[in-house]
Every structure is written in structure tokens, then in C-alpha cells.
Subunit: 237 residues, 2 copies
């Protein structure tokens, strides 16, 4: 039985970047290599102990700034993980029990351009993490799975996917965000019809410049639409 309970704040940061092999847009996140026990040498979510003078969200923001140089617009509390045995190290006893309050950040395309890697920080495509020989430190693999599940659910009932995009975007770009998050191809015309029917985006009246012969229309988030229901249909291809 442990006497001390410590509090940490960690953050799951999702950004969309091309997959290193396929070139398709895919989910990436930054991890930090642990330089001390427990789990020395393993990858972990960015985070750290809650400082006495910091609010929870300030702690998440400070960690993000320190590890990635980013201050994402979309940062929200995800869940508190506090099982008694979650922070046990495989090799060493005597570490305090840690309860982690986890935030998640979604990084916009325009924001991601400003990302800088900190020391011992590396970005990974989400699907590569599961293939790593060594699991993430602590229960961070469980936390990452939970964050992915929540993200995949939430894009179907809220406009949260817009957080990955700049203010104005063609519908095809929004679809690619959904495809990256859900990790599967979607039927373009079904997607277009459903999104427009939901009223979560509105036509800006402008078209994308400097592109094709018939440049696509630009859309933006419609104000006041915080909830909707999307029945995601897969493409037949």
C-alpha cells in the first residue's frame, strides 16, 4: 500500500501529417523519451507533475509549449486515470502512486507548421506506435487507445474535426480529415451530402485560389452547431 498520491497532467496531441509510406493524411502524435526510472528509455505522453501554482489546463499548455512549441487552439480535458496499480514500474518499487489528468489537443494544419521538436521528443504516426517493440510507459498505451476511441466517436456527433483545418476549407479536405481520423476511405458524394445536410458548415461564397481549372468552393464552420449526427458510410472502392 502506498501512502503518497501524486498528481500529473499529460496530454495526447493529435495532428494530421502525411503517412511516411503511403503519403496519405494520417494521425500523428508526439511522444517523449523517459530519461529516468520508472520506465527509463520508454516513450511516454508529454506531461509532468502538476505544479502547486498551476491550474490543470495551464500545466497541459506549458508541457505542450515545452515539448512541441505549440499552443493549440483546441485543448480540452479528456479523462482522469487513477487506478491504484497504473503507475507501477515493471522493475522498481517505491515510486509513489500517480493520478494523471489527461488533456487532448487537436492541432490545426496552420498550427502544425510551427511545431518544433524538443529534446527527447519525437512525432510518430499513430499506427506505428502499436507496432513498436516496447509498449509505452505506464498505462499510456491504454490512454492513447481511449483518446483515439473518443476522437473517432466525437467526429460523428460534433464538428470537432474542424479543429484540424484552417478557418476556410474545401469539403474534400474535410473528408480527408475524417478519413485520417477514422482510418478508412469514405464515399465522397455521401460524405458531401451528409455534411451539407447537417448544416455544420456554410459556403463562404469564395473558391480556393491557385489550384485547378474549376477551383473548389471554400466552406467554414457554421456558428452555433455544436452537435450533429453523422452516419459514416464507407466507400465501395
Amino acid at each position: 500500500m502506498q501512502d503518497r498520491i501524486e498528481l500529473a497532467v499529460s496530454t495526447v496531441v493529435f495532428s494530421l501529417r502525411p503517412h511516411p509510406e503511403t503519403g496519405e493524411l494520417t494521425l500523428w502524435l508526439p511522444l517523449v523519451r523517459r530519461i529516468r526510472e520508472p520506465y527509463e528509455g520508454r516513450w511516454a505522453l508529454p506531461g509532468g507533475p502538476l505544479a502547486p501554482e498551476e491550474n490543470l489546463v495551464e500545466s497541459a499548455r506549458a508541457t505542450l509549449q515545452r515539448t512541441t512549441g505549440l499552443t493549440p487552439r483546441h485543448l480540452e480535458q479528456l479523462y482522469a486515470f487513477g487506478d491504484v496499480d497504473r503507475s507501477h514500474s515493471a522493475d522498481a518499487a517505491g515510486h509513489a502512486r500517480v493520478v494523471s489528468i489527461v488533456y487532448w489537443a487537436l492541432v490545426g494544419e496552420d498550427e502544425d507548421a510551427e511545431a518544433v521538436d524538443g529534446e527527447n521528443v519525437e512525432w510518430f504516426p499513430v499506427d506505428e506506435i502499436a507496432e513498436e517493440a516496447e509498449p509505452l510507459a505506464f498505462d499510456h498505451g491504454v490512454i492513447l487507445d481511449y483518446a483515439l476511441r473518443r476522437l473517432r466517436a466525437k467526429v460523428t456527433y460534433s464538428p470537432i474535426a474542424h479543429a484540424f483545418l484552417p478557418e476556410e476549407f474545401p469539403l474534400a479536405q474535410l473528408r480527408r480529415v475524417y478519413e485520417a481520423v477514422l482510418n478508412r476511405a469514405l464515399d465522397p458524394s455521401n460524405f458531401r451530402r451528409q455534411i451539407l445536410a447537417q448544416g455544420s458548415v456554410e459556403d463562404t461564397g469564395r473558391r480556393q485560389t491557385g489550384t485547378a481549372h474549376r477551383p473548389p468552393k471554400l466552406y467554414r464552420s457554421a456558428p452555433g452547431r455544436s452537435r450533429y449526427a453523422l452516419t459514416i458510410q464507407e466507400t465501395d472502392q
Copy 2:
């Protein structure tokens, strides 16, 4: 600046009971009178420090059992509240900073029948709490407002309202749950049409016994419907 950060788990417990004046079904919750500083004598959400050997949800369950005698089926984590100045007492310094991980419980009609009051525990209609001369202890008024907002939002996009009901229920009873949660009258035929269109309930083939000349049909939760969108329409009356 404080050095120590303590962890507490508190729970917002919602149940539906008749309003003491109108007799209409309305939201109630149990509060605990504080018997020591800070905020001695004020009403607070049931809760307490996280014990070293307890998981978070176990702590919430133990508090509920101790204060209300209940072990509700529906208990989930709501949010962690941890602002630096949230636990300051109005009158005394020197208390540690407390981060509270808050759960919420929805008590089914059948469960509520087993509620027993603990010492210094009292149930209040939600709308009476705002009228109390003294605000709740700590930031518990803020937490209660947050829980109410979340509950009112969540009934429109998930079948969470079913948690207040026994396994089988007439649609009119489900409507009264929505009316109590949203604190307004709903148009019966619109409500019926929308709920049936969502597919979140299914006909049991049975009717309520021992009631009227034409006893109402009994419905139950349809399996696998965890999300839907309900456009709540008010009655014209």
C-alpha cells in the same frame, strides 16, 4: 503559494422525485453538511479524500454507499476540477490545495426506493439549491451547474435518460424524465414520433398492468444505440 496538492473524489447524484410544491417529477440530489472548516455548516457534494488503496471509481462508490445507501448502476466520471484557488475557504488560510475528480450518478426509479439518508445528509430539489441563502461549499455550485449542463446536453444525443427508468417503461414515462431533466414541458406527440424514429427504444409487446382502461405499451432500451440526435420541441401549451 501552496506546496501540497490533495486529491478528492466527489459525486453529483441525480434522482427524480416529485417536486414538494407542484408534485411534478423533478431532479433531486443529496448534499452533505460540512462539520468542519473550511466551510463548516455549508452544504457540499458527497465526497472525500482519495484513499491510497482505492481506485477513483471505488472512492465514488464508497462515498455514495456511505451517504445514500445507494449503488447506482449508472456512475461515470464527469470532470476534474483543479483551479488553484477553487478550494480556498472564505475564512481560513492554510488549507491544502485540493483537486477534485468528480463522478456523476443517475439513480433509477427502482434504485431510488432503497435510498437511506446518512448522518448530515439531505436530499434537495435542484431548483431549491440556487435559492438557498448560502452558496454551496468550495466551488460545488459551479460543479453542480456543469453537471446539469452536461446532463441536459447528453439526453439529446444519447439514451442516458433511460438510466432513470426501470427496464421497461411506457413512452409517457420517458417523456416525463426528459421534462424533468430539461425543466420544461414537451409536446407528447412530437416526442413520441422523434423517440420512435431514433430507434433507441423497442416495443416489448407487453402493456402496463393494473392501470387504465387502455393500458400503455411498454418499451425498453434498444441494444446498440448509444448515440442519436433529438431535436427537443417544446409544447405549445
